[in-house]
Symmetry: C2
Amino acid sequence: MKVGIVGLGLMGGSFALALKRKFKQRDERLEIIGLDHNDQHCLDALQLKIADKITDDINDLLNLDLIVLTIPVNAIIKLLPQLKKASSNTTIVDFGSTKEKIVASIPQEIRANFVASHPMAGTEKSGPQAADRKLYRGKVVVLCDTEENDPYHLKFAKEIFRDIGMKIFYMNAKEHDKHAAYISHMPHAVSYALANSVMKQENPKAILALAGGGFRSMSRIAKSAPTMWIDIFKQNSQNLLEATKNLKEELETFETYVKDENWEELTKWIEQANELHKIL
Amino acid sequence: MKVGIVGLGLMGGSFALALKRKFKQRDERLEIIGLDHNDQHCLDALQLKIADKITDDINDLLNLDLIVLTIPVNAIIKLLPQLKKASSNTTIVDFGSTKEKIVASIPQEIRANFVASHPMAGTEKSGPQAADRKLYRGKVVVLCDTEENDPYHLKFAKEIFRDIGMKIFYMNAKEHDKHAAYISHMPHAVSYALANSVMKQENPKAILALAGGGFRSMSRIAKSAPTMWIDIFKQNSQNLLEATKNLKEELETFETYVKDENWEELTKWIEQANELHKIL
């Protein structure tokens, strides 16, 4: 199998390493051709055996078995017209964290080939050096608007995701973006806000010296680089703002209970949050 | 050494297990006498070898080498008058997450004995079954207003904290409560708010099915039971409300940048949050 990976960072690199291991276990041949605007990423990807070859020409990927787009979401949309001439045998998947605008931008010529995907995996790290072959294992991948796909391409994409150990969910792109705002995009905004609320204090070092597990957990994703997240916030701004508004309302409920010394209602509010435990 | 532990939950249980291991390594004798209003906790503590004996009479602890208070902060304040008659040789430490009101409530008779402490450790779990002898290892403990302590008692408390592997910080109680609001109390409120913002959606299960590592990290402490946290929110309400207000302002900054499509300023705001990485 020949796979082209556009974007040799954490997501693309981890995907390559997971797939390589699977193919090695099955003693099947796999060739990965990487493309990345960052020369250092290309060098690192070769050294880390994420990619077997590097190209700077997207046309070199258009007849492969699979093209995987692991670049920021706006970069995906910008790239789509250049994929129009992909072979009808080439399956294309993207790993973008927003789906509605991407799906709306897929050129008709490759709509049947293009399986819009969102693997719910990642860390606050980035770059090929952060790649981890276990990143996707046991995690959920959401496939969107698959009724637009040719059955062959959908089946192939599903096999690949199962190969790297993922659980497959289906959802329409609109619903996905609304859910992703609550489960991922808004929480990132909150984590950034939490980090900034401390970093702007008089002596953040003295405060952070006290950080226990709770603060570490809550601020971990505030280390995520802006490159990818600005794009996500752009593309999902409406759902994101709605989710942020909801969170602020919950915080205001909390503030009111504390100000009013309404410990009874505050206890109920906390118990409702505790219910999460039963699901997650 | 004879130690009395008031409160045989996660904090008291973990302390007992850590201390027992240390004393066993040194082949020194250690007896732990536990007290807890919850009978099941007492039974569990005996079975888990957290306590060697159980008493329901606080007077049984007043002549031991050490008394450790690992109960919710308002319960500590309520208990303090009953410790007035503790021996001048008995060191007393509390593990409360707020310090100003506790310190102000220490009876003069035991002020020299009482080392006000806050170990920056914990998990979202509770009860003796959750006790973990490694909970405190490598973590920070803040000792407050130690100039009020007799040097013997301070030295003894420090030895005990070093025995269980903790790093010691000093701070006045007022400063501690302000910092703790940012690093621990407000983040708990935010995590509860995040959990509730999702739990109140139409189909929380469908949303939570998508949860990746980011949401799991941010919502973990929303599983913490109200018993302990209501007390903390009560005792540190002013600092807590200030920290929550600050967080909301950061979120509003975020919202404004998104609404105004001011991606340049949003990038700077994220980069500022990323700076946390250099400290934590």
